[in-house]
């Protein structure tokens, strides 16, 4: 067992996480076409820490790999490389399965689709009680029913709702049930995969407020996955920006929004629609996300980057002070400001 990092009170440590999918054509077709196997590097070396009580957000567009990271952190997807450690216990160590069992109780997940994350044939009471029963946290049925009632009240529903089926609830209410289920095992670390993307704006506000309240009350730690920067602004303490499987920038929230450094981060922030109608100047966004099966060489962002040079095309930048960009390292990123004003 690797001893926990001494200096920070990191609850979750992710080091050099990788995931490669085999997307080759079926064997017979490959033999006939004489085609090589094809691999998709969904996640290509991600490292970050999450401190207890914080919300770490992973932001990115489609193909960035953020959902894949979430599933690996939580243990739903086997890891192709690298390591995930929660409170010092490695999630992939087979030997330590007793410790991992204990760990399972403390990690939970909230999913994106409120219509698919609850079993439509189960009553809400059974859905929420499932973790309690699985981990044998309470013995008698009465205790379990009471606890379910407590949890429902905690997320803003009524204990009487426990006899209902999921289809009798709205999307936002279902998400509340999903949160109650996540809390049922007394989890401390919750991975949230786009929890409000499928909800209406006013419902989203309710759920985000609820999640923040619960975090304050129960001292929860969140890994928050989202593509919506405004939502992330609201929830996160630190933010990691992902592009094609790599982390391009990691920074505390306030800093990322006030002084973004990586060109992609800046482009992303500029692309967010301006609800304040401030008429701010924007860099026009170029191009689209390339296919992850055949990513560009060197820095994967180089085809769309206004600051690209030869080194960017050849060499993948390493993260320095949270930013993985040659231009930032070489001090060339001032050029982006000039371009904005032009």
């Amino acid at each position: 067992m690797i001893p926990p990092l001494a200096q920070s009170a990191a609850l979750v440590t992710v080091r050099d996480l990788r995931k490669t999918f085999d997307v080759s054509k079926p064997w017979l077709e490959r033999v006939i076409d004489r085609a090589p196997k094809q691999f998709l590097k969904a996640v290509d070396g991600i490292s970050f820490d999450i401190r207890k009580g914080e919300t770490f957000a992973l932001v990115g567009e489609s193909g960035s790999g953020k959902s894949t990271v979430a599933r690996m952190v939580v243990g739903l997807l086997p890891v192709s490389g690298g390591e995930v450690m929660v409170d010092g216990v490695s999630m992939s160590e087979v030997a330590n399965s007793a410790a991992r069992e204990l760990l399972r109780r403390r990690i939970q997940m909230i999913f994106q689709d409120p219509y698919a994350s609850l079993n439509p044939r189960w009553r809400v009471a059974d859905i929420i009680a499932e973790p309690i029963r699985a981990f044998k946290l309470l013995d008698t049925n009465k205790d379990i029913t009471d606890r379910v009632g407590e949890l429902l009240t905690l997320v803003g529903l009524s204990p009487l709702d426990r006899v209902k089926f999921p289809h009798q609830f709205s999307g936002g209410q279902r998400q509340r049930v999903a949160i109650a289920r996540a809390l049922a095992s007394n989890a401390e670390f919750i991975v949230c995969d786009e929890p409000t993307s499928a909800l209406d704006v006013s419902v989203q506000a309710q759920i985000l407020n609820l999640m923040r309240d619960l975090q304050d009350r129960l001292g929860l730690t969140y890994l928050f996955i989202s593509h919506n920067l405004a939502v992330v602004r609201h929830m996160a303490t630190s933010i990691g920006v992902m592009y094609l499987g790599r982390l391009v920038e990691v920074a505390p929230a306030a800093q990322l929004f006030s002084a973004p450094r990586h060109p992609y981060t800046r482009m992303l922030l500029d692309a967010v629609p301006d609800l304040e109608m401030s008429g701010r100047a924007r860099i026009p966004v170029q191009g689209e996300i390339p296919s992850p099966i055949n990513p560009p060489t060197g820095c994967t962002f180089h085809p769309r980057c206004p600051l690209v040079n030869e080194r960017c095309r050849a060499e993948a930048p390493l993260p320095i002070n949270g930013v993985a960009c040659h231009a930032v390292e070489e001090g060339r990123d001032g050029a982006m400001e000039l371009r904005k004003r032009a």
Binding site: E61, V201, H234, L275, M277
Partner: protein
């Protein structure tokens, strides 16, 4: 005062179900001027997509238009026979849907689809139509259009496909474009490009645009005016700046306050209690009254009329100057 391109008056859409009549759109009225972008915004179930579908006459049974009128450049289109309506739909109204994968026929090349549309609504020959198609693709920003025009839809990325859909919608030079969530399925960076494109092209051609979406940010960037829908009715309609920054109707105010922006970090998001009523349980009077913190007696009995407030129209009794202070305070 130029004649509006689209004029909708008291539109009503109903669904006949085993359990009775459901009114999905209840007396909706608005105009769109040439070159103007009207945003129709609302949450799910508000009826915004249905409004667009009703205007082009594509409502399937058990739904049907139960009342009201739709005028396109001075001619009524909601009561046209099917064949006439079909011609109007192709030539004078263009559609942009949410999912570019299903808007384009995967079995045909882009060239075939574009040329077919162009030739149906004009008398160009094959070569002329092709040249025009390439011109359209250039306008929407597809690189190397002479080569890419012969590709199939699946050979394009999501954003590129949506550009092709826009080209297709503009191919017949329509007077009106109805765009239903055109950017929802796209990444944020691509979304910005598509929004800019729609705005630019429509302004150049003087095409009116009805932009239906739940994304307020897109509205703020694209629209000139915006109509906020709730439970099948328009509760507020006005210039986009006014509605977004200084909404009047309590629902619109709540909606704007609930949206997280890059600026608000530490504040709590505004929350509207409850949820939109189902179609079979719309309250009497103002549909929003059970959730409204400022509701009073009249709100529960009388459906609000549109009251002009500054440059907007608001359906809310709070703004009825004839209300005595005593009634409001109750």
């Amino acid at each position: 005062m130029t004649q509006p391109v689209l004029s909708v008056r008291n539109l009503e859409v109903e669904f006949v179900t085993r359990r009775g009549l459901l009114r999905a759109i209840d007396k909706v009225s608005f105009d769109i001027a040439p070159g103007e972008v009207l945003g129709v915004v609302g949450e799910s179930g508000a009826g915004k997509s249905l409004t667009g579908t009703a205007i082009i006459g594509l409502i399937d049974p058990p739904g049907r238009i139960a009342g009201g009128e739709v005028w396109l450049k001075g001619r009524r289109i909601d009561n046209l026979p099917k064949e006439e309506l079909r011609k109007v739909r192709g030539k004078r109204i263009g559609m942009i849907f949410q999912d570019p994968l299903t808007s384009l026929n995967p079995l045909f090349r882009i060239s075939e689809q574009l040329i077919e549309t162009i030739r149906t609504h004009s008398d160009m020959n094959e070569a002329q139509a092709r040249a025009r198609a390439v011109g359209l693709l250039t306008e929407v920003g597809i690189p190397a259009p002479e080569k890419r025009i012969d590709s199939y839809p699946h050979e394009f990325s999501g954003g590129m496909r949506q550009r092709v859909v826009i080209a297709l919608a503009l191919a017949a030079e329509p007077e009106l474009i109805i765009a239903d969530e055109p950017t929802t399925a796209l990444d944020v960076s691509v979304q910005a490009q598509i929004i800019t494109l729609i705005k630019k092209l429509c302004r150049e051609r003087g095409t009116a645009v009805m932009l239906v979406t739940h994304d307020m940010g897109v509205i703020a960037e694209t629209a000139d005016r915006v109509a906020v829908m709730y439970a099948g009715r328009i509760v507020e309609i006005g210039p986009v700046r006014d509605v977004v920054k200084h909404a009047k109707h309590p629902y619109a105010k709540g909606l704007m306050g609930a949206i997280p922006t890059l600026a608000t970090a530490e504040t709590r998001l505004l929350q509207i209690p409850g949820s939109m009523p189902r179609l079979n349980a719309i309250p009497a009077g103002c549909a929003f009254n059970p959730r409204c913190a400022e509701a009073f007696e009249r709100c529960r009995t009388d459906r609000p009329e549109y009251i002009p407030v500054e440059n907007s129209q608001v359906a809310c009794w709070l703004y009825d100057k004839r209300q005595t202070k005593r009634e409001v305070a109750a």
